[in-house]
């Protein structure tokens, strides 16, 4: 039962992410979720993203941006990976890039700002730690 509940936590995630470039071309921009449902993006958000990113990066940004909640980092902490994804969030939060940064780690107040600006183009994912400190890839 617990296992099933944990597995169900991430059923809302998309089967595959779509580039901003492709979504901008769609009349009704959406992705299909693992649960068979679809997730629609707001045109207004896509336009905003296309404004803050240079055009050559539109084909590199995959949406939705996944905000990974991993309890091993502490309560309310999240990770974001992907170079363009990190760049987008840093621009929104006006944050400088840190040296040797593999993942962007954001805390709840920052996530609130991001979610207010990008409610449809970001999604939460719940990560379970297989061993202490190591996120379980199966749950991605």
């Amino acid at each position: 039962m617990i296992k099933r509940q944990i597995q169900n936590l991430n059923r809302h995630l998309p089967k595959g992410r779509v580039t901003l470039e492709n979504l901008l071309k769609q009349e009704k921009p959406r992705v299909e979720n693992r649960d068979g449902d679809s997730h629609r993006f707001k045109r207004r958000e896509l336009n905003y993203l296309s404004e803050i990113l240079p055009p050559e990066k539109h084909s590199k940004l995959r949406l939705p941006i996944i905000i990974r909640i991993s309890p091993d980092l502490g309560r309310g902490a999240t990770r974001i990976s992907g170079d363009v994804e990190k760049e987008v969030l840093r621009k929104i939060l006006e944050k400088e890039e840190e040296e040797g940064e593999d993942e962007l780690i954001l805390y709840r107040p920052e996530i609130r700002i991001v979610r207010k600006k990008l409610p449809t183009t970001t999604q939460y994912a719940f990560m379970i730690s297989s061993t202490k400190g190591e996120p379980d890839e199966r749950n991605r």
């Binding site: 809302h12 679809s38 997730h39 629609r40 909640i69 609130r112 979610r115 207010k116 379970i128």
Partner: protein, 217 residues
């Protein structure tokens, strides 16, 4: 503890299984608690937005009804009704869905045709005053916000339902399942320790008996 002893085999294998279940339950509890926290944050952010939006809509509708009264005064009721009937064209409203942590919520977007210019509305411009144009414009403006308000209200309602469900799951893990599993674990550990003590005692007795037999021989 008495109930814990029922249907439990006090074996090492069972203890190992139980430890794994406790570990999984604790991780599940952590994740569900994170989900609950994130849902609560989303709920309050959407609620703030909803309050602001409701005030906007009320203000815009007030202004639209004032403009409608002006139009009624200047053009008369029958002319206003004629213009309303003559007003053509369907309004396109795009209703779809998105997902917030497993909560399916609607997306309502105004399509083309919600905000039109005077020539697109369909009533005669010669027979009506500009007051009708102003009233129509203000209602169209308000309609866009009404759609956003409808979306925000439904999101808040569905998030509230999901928070309740997640809260119940977190509480059942925290106050029922995990303590029960911990109790069972303690019970098995206690029984295994007891068995170990008994085994030790038995071995000691056997050894003593063998030594005595050897001495007698």
């Amino acid at each position: 503890m008495a109930s814990a002893s029922e249907n439990i085999q006090p074996t090492r294998g069972e203890l190992l299984k139980l430890k794994r279940r406790i570990d999984l339950a604790k991780r599940g509890h952590e994740l569900l608690r994170e989900k609950r926290d994130a849902l609560v944050t989303e709920f309050f952010d959407n609620l703030d937005m909803l309050r602001g939006k409701r005030e906007d809509v009320e203000e815009k509708l007030d202004r639209a009804y004032e403009a409608l009264i002006d139009a009624k005064v200047s053009d008369g009721s029958s002319e206003l009704e004629k213009s309303a009937l003559a007003s053509s064209g369907d309004i396109e409203i795009d209703v779809d869905s998105r997902n917030i942590m497993g909560v399916r919520v609607p997306i309502v977007e105004a399509g083309e045709g919600v905000e039109r210019n005077v020539t697109e509305r369909g009533y005669s411009l010669q027979e009506t005053s500009s007051n009708i144009d102003v009233a129509a414009e203000k209602f169209e403006e308000a309609l866009k916000d009404v759609l956003e308000l409808a979306e925000a209200e439904e999101i808040v309602r569905r998030l509230a339902r999901e928070i309740e469900k997640t809260k119940r799951r977190v509480n059942s893990l925290e106050y029922v399942l995990i303590p029960r599993l911990e109790n069972n674990k303690e019970y098995i550990e206690m029984r295994l320790e007891e068995q170990e003590r008994e085994d030790k005692f038995r071995m000691k007795r056997v050894k003593q008996k063998m030594e005595r037999e050897e001495a007698e021989a």
